[in-house]
Amino acid sequence: MKKRKHDGIRGFLPVRAAKSWLAGDAFVKLTPLLWGVGYIRRRQFVKGFLAILFEVVVVMFSISYGFPNIAKFGTLGTVRRETVYNPATMKNEVNQYDNSFLILLFGLVGLIVLAVAVIILMRIVAEARELQQKSEQGAHISTFREDIRELLNQKFHITLLSLPSLGIIVFTIIPLIFMILVAFTNYDQQHMAPTELFTWVGLDNFKRLFNNSLSETFGYSFGKVLGWTLVWAFFATFTCYFGGIALSLMINNKRTRVKKLWRTLFVICIAVPQFVSLLLVRNFFADTGIVNTFCSNVGITDFLKSIGLVGAYLDHIPFLTEAGWAKFMIILINFWIGVPYLMLIATGVLMNIPTEYYESAKIDGANALQTFNRITMPFMLSVTGPYLITSFIANINNFNVIYLLTQDVYFTMDTKLAASNAKDIDLLVTWLYRLTNDYYNYKMASVIGILVFIVCAVFTLLAFNYTFRKGREGRFQ
């Protein structure tokens, strides 16, 4: 395919646009005022019309939403909502108040729209200049139909990516930037829009995380919750990983009968949606649940009491209601959910280990343990290494297991944790979720969200750095 002509003058866009504008003719000079004029002059009418339409939309949005909100962005609004009695209409009326939430949101959107519009305008100017040069040289100027065809061919990626990217920008990127900004404001239950205003507070919320006083326990809670999050992620990842490998080795042993049946039995457990199975298990292990009845009938409860694992004052095993027990049970129940997944994955990997490795090991007289240590495990690690990393990250963010098992069931005894709405068994994400959904403490939730990101990013970087530095992935290829 022929390379596009302006590939040669590719450069930093603002510089290119400025140069084009300076060198261009009257129509190029006019383009920043009326965006489509450069196209229309070169008989690209549809493109010119679309550019003007886009300009009108941007200007109208900026005038009605963008600029008014960007102007108040520095303060996030100053006029509180008040209801005033209006003698003229004899009714209570709401004044012209500022809604900090909408100011922050539309201010942000307004800034993004402006930035995008400026980038597009610079491209339009550069393109208008190219068109001018082309027409002066008498070169062919593409028709609208040719432009469309290009969008289905060389520029097909633009066609493919535009809608999904728009979705990601609207539903992930803008909300994400918004929440990051909220971490620097005092947006919480005392400052709920629209009735109250909130405003910028700089790094105050981050400082609270290192505060640990009687009234301020966020520092204390953050330390505890982060510690348990990491312990949990470690155990949840590795118990399931090795459990799954052990199970799949047993099932895939050459001499095991009805492999498919075994596999299906375990897969059934994960085919039930988690909110069903976890809510069920929570009732299974409830303080007055069936397992407790069984344990006290058989005498397990008394035995555990006698060795001190269950408090003497209790008549049941506090499976999900006491910190130590709950943590143990959560990891155990996660093992129940996670092992079948890993069994499936490990089965897939095991089937792909070249049989020649095993044959030559046999000839060399290696025993089962040596074969496992030298062939199976290294192969497994090299293939599932990236999966281990993503699974560790996923466990840091594993909301379902903890929330569905313990919400409305577990109540913390630790007053310092309770003061900042945390619980012993909370992960950072479940804490974040409850802070927002139950306590409307958006500012601290945003701070925690940013810290979760930092924790995940650090682990990802460490892990990938380790895998690539050692060049481990090439070993079996």
Partner: protein, 300 residues
């Protein structure tokens, strides 16, 4: 893609009759352990199914198997609709949301995957890195903001709101499909292009017909998302009317302290009913799940 397991060594079959006693004990122990593990793993599932047929409405804490068996829990799930239980409406709501989500996110995922896998353009790496970076934030951090945006647009408690939430940024989940497209031989694409096919034609007529497994995987996983998800629907649906809920929200609310003792058996019946179609789809998808996770690194 996958290698068949090595054919059974004929020598082994002949030898079977005079099996080494050590191997035999190993076999017996292994099968016993497997049976024990399977039994443990299935206990909660069996309890779910049994309780769904129990004549006792609440949690029976004394007996594992119900005293009296009945089908009334299933019947009442469909006939009795009240402020707590409205299973037909939940099922319809979730089904509608699932269908739309499925179509939109399958399209998005395949489109992004093709662009990232088969095309080379400026900014491709940067876009992929951005995707990885976005994935490191907890998914529902953004939900607070999205909830208020949807509220401004009067879309909370509606199907459209849920569909937007599920499908909106689904393009980020393209990696598995990309891994699959990466394994399709480049020479086929080049040959098609030599014959004068455009990129769009390569996408529709070469890549998609070759990608049936990954399309099935994407369709099923997108369809399952609204059925399996609890957290997003719980944020977006704040309505107190039971007819507005999805299956997940509804079943969760059934187990609220005030209602658990009247609705527990019906919760189990509902759980079984939801699990059946999901299990079937899940078993179909399972095979692709393995291939997706082990990804391009395993090529048989």
């Amino acid at each position: 893609m996958k290698k068949n397991p090595a054919p059974v060594d004929p020598a082994l079959i002949v030898k079977k009759r005079h099996v080494n006693p050590r191997l035999l004990t190993g076999d017996i122990v292994r099968h016993l352990v497997l049976a024990l593990l399977a039994a443990i793993w299935l206990v909660p599932i069996v309890w779910l199914i049994c309780t769904s047929f129990s004549a006792y409405e609440g949690r029976n804490i004394l007996r594992f198997f119900p005293e009296n068996w009945t089908l009334s829990n299933y019947a009442r799930l469909f006939s009795d609709t009240d402020s707590v239980s409205n299973f037909p409406a939940w099922f319809t709501n979730t089904f509608i949301v699932a269908c739309f989500t499925c179509v939109i996110s399958t399209l998005f995922v395949l489109m992004v995957a093709y662009a990232m896998s088969c095309m080379r353009f400026r900014g491709r790496r940067a876009l992929m890195n951005t995707g990885v970076l976005l994935g490191l934030f907890p998914g529902f951090l953004t939900m607070i903001c999205i909830y208020y945006i949807l509220k401004e647009l009067k879309l909370t408690d509606t199907h459209a709101g849920l569909i937007l939430v599920y499908a909106g940024s689904s393009g980020l989940g393209y990696l598995i499909a990309k891994g699959f497209f990466d394994t399709i031989s480049r020479s086929m694409i080049d040959a098609a292009k030599l014959d004068g096919a455009s990129e769009a034609e390569v996408f529709w007529k070469v890549i998609l017909p070759l990608s049936k497994p990954i399309i099935v995987y994407t369709v099923i996983s997108a369809f399952l998302m609204p059925w399996m998800d609890f957290i997003f629907s719980n944020i977006i649906i704040k309505s107190r009317l039971s007819g507005d809920w999805t299956v997940a929200v509804g079943l969760y609310n059934m187990l609220h302290k005030s209602s658990v003792n009247t609705y527990f058996s019906r919760f189990c019946a509902g759980g079984v009913l939801v699990s059946i179609p999901i299990s079937v789809l899940f078993v179909i998808m399972q095979k692709f799940y393995v291939e997706s996770v082990t990804g391009g690194s395993v090529k048989g």
